[in-house]
Symmetry: C2
Subunit: 156 residues, 2 copies
DNA sequence: CGCAACTAAGTTGCGCGCAACTTAATGACG
DNA sequence: CGTCATTAAGTTGCGCGCAACTTAGTTGCG
């Protein structure tokens, strides 16, 4: 026989658990690195998107970050209270809220320039390893997202 | 030139983000699969450890799961309220609290037997891919944990 | 036009995850 | 034996992340 059932049945737990553990370990490193910017990791992600794309509605922000308004609304409120972003109703569509950087928020970009390098150093990975891992994880996420939607996918 | 600075600087974000996204996608699948057991994923993890090791103190549980008492205490309280575990002060060391399964908690193991297979199916990965990914993630977690502790590790 | 279906944000509630702190018990050491 | 550092659990506070719901604005269609 190949793999005993008990071993096999434990692999799923190991993969999700190690994923989870790695994600939380990253959180710890980001917490240290972002401390003097006064940002949490999710807040930093929002600013990354805004630095790249300029202003955009909450909806689009959520698509980039895989987050819904239930998470983003209070988070953006905190960023606004910190003076880093402004939120204003779109004139074209009164349902939509445009999020844009304040001068302070835009200026923070330079102070954050060091962050990626420090994180990359903490991983101990080189560029090709990072790319490979990222690709695998994105395929995995796509497969997991398909669960429920697509119970019997055509084998590639 | 090799990789432009901007590309390079973005890789860290991609790896942590895709890690995060995969972890949350897993959460969604587990939420569906664990729904009729009335468990969250962290609660399921606690039960997995108890099913394997029998009774053990909160401290040990936390070492297995990478969680502290701040997270475990309320979680265990909920599991106790659900009738799945009992908590009692150790006689040998009055500081310690032993967590053990109730008959109901032990019985839940059989109803949970299907879970790993369903999760494994949702990942679309085979055994070797899972092992490889898990190994990489564990090395990554170890590297991230060393951050701050070991600023200049000897290059293997 | 009028009304139903849809869509974007926001709110509420709950369970982590973690920092910071408190309480209580143990161990070490003079 | 007393005192002081250490350890285990628990509590508090806060920020996600997500389900479920509400509110308000838009679109489609007869």
């Amino acid at each position: 026989m190949t793999t005993p059932a008990t071993d096999w049945l434990r692999l799923d737990q190991q993969i999700c658990f190690s994923l989870n553990a790695a994600s939380r370990a990253f959180g710890g490193v980001y917490r240290v690195v972002l401390k003097d910017l006064g940002l949490t990791y999710p807040q930093y992600l929002v600013l990354l998107v805004l630095w790249e794309h300029g202003e955009l509605p909450v909806k689009r922000l959520g698509e980039h970050l895989r987050l819904d308004s239930g998470t983003l609304s209070p988070l953006l409120k905190r960023l606004e209270a910190a003076g880093l972003v402004r939120r204003e109703r779109s004139a074209r569509d009164e349902r939509s809220v445009e999020v844009r950087l304040t001068p302070e928020g835009a200026a923070l970009r330079e102070r954050a320039a060091e962050v990626p390098r420090r994180i990359a150093a903490a991983t101990g990975l080189d560029v090709t390893e990072v790319q490979d891992l990222r690709d695998r994880l994105e395929r995995l996420t796509a497969a997991l997202d398909a669960y429920g939607t697509d119970p019997a996918p055509a084998p590639s």
